[in-house]
Subunit: 161 residues, 2 copies
């Protein structure tokens, strides 16, 4: 399975929102995210499903991916919230091994941590993932994905679009 | 310092060359490498120096980077040969800390191993680096770079051009 961990786009200023979870994408964030999404579409990416953090800025990012036809199906997935537990996703994965390609939309440092746990078995927070950036992880068919996967892509929007 | 570990482009068939070190880039390899190089130039990358493995396919890749004006200066660097010793490069680094951005042209799995050693302190061979692909590593100004650096880019030509 190929998983694309996609960080939400640039969101509104923290100081302007009493609840961090409510911050929407800015116009610039929306435009840049759409460019990344279109580029992924042009590169023939298609996702079986998009799982997204329930926070507004992640949900909006996931909807942009859907709008450009990368995927029909979006589900909110609580463990993609900040400080979410990757083991809940591992359980999800065990039930969805037939998927070929999925997107996980969420936050930093969590997405980088998840990618590191999948590849090296633990995290040292050594992956720089910019807003609307992407990490591509290939999960081996056999065994647990933890410490058993490989990274084939890590990119900020700058390099992609 | 930003280091760009760049794998050589597609090279001639092993069976056709008695000495592996002599294999040149193919026409397709040369074209794809040039596209990657031009893209890096358009993204405003410039290198203070290119260090390259002395093998023909790496030297030719380094020359293409030079031809598109990414850098004036190329030096062959024996430790970038297959199975080269990163510690010799660490010694080089200690003497060249004033560089802002450099390219290291070489081979797999060595380049991926070097990137893992710089970031995680050891290698598990979990980075997929295609021919003419690039890994971007940011080295902290302080302390040894080993286990103290971060990855900001990992890309095959597909995503870049």
């Amino acid at each position: 399975m190929y998983i694309y961990l996609i960080r939400h786009g640039i969101a509104g200023d923290r100081a302007k929102y009493s609840n961090d979870a409510d911050r929407p994408l800015t116009d610039i964030g929306r435009n840049k995210t759409k460019k990344v999404a279109k580029r992924l579409f042009d590169l023939d990416l298609r996702f079986d499903i998009i799982l997204t953090s329930p926070l507004v800025r992640a949900m909006e990012t996931a909807k942009i991916l859907q709008e450009v036809q990368l995927c029909k199906k979006i589900e909110t997935f609580e463990p993609l919230s900040p400080n979410g537990d990757i083991n809940i996703w591992i359980n999800w994965y065990a039930l969805h091994k037939s998927c070929n390609s999925i997107a996980l939309v969420g936050h930093q440092p969590d997405l980088g941590n998840w990618a590191e746990i999948l590849t090296w078995g633990k995290t040292q927070e050594k992956l720089i993932v910019k807003k609307a950036g992407v990490i591509g992880v290939r999960i081996s068919e056999n065994g647990t994905p933890i410490g058993n996967s490989e990274i084939f892509l890590l990119s900020s929007p700058k390099w992609l679009v």
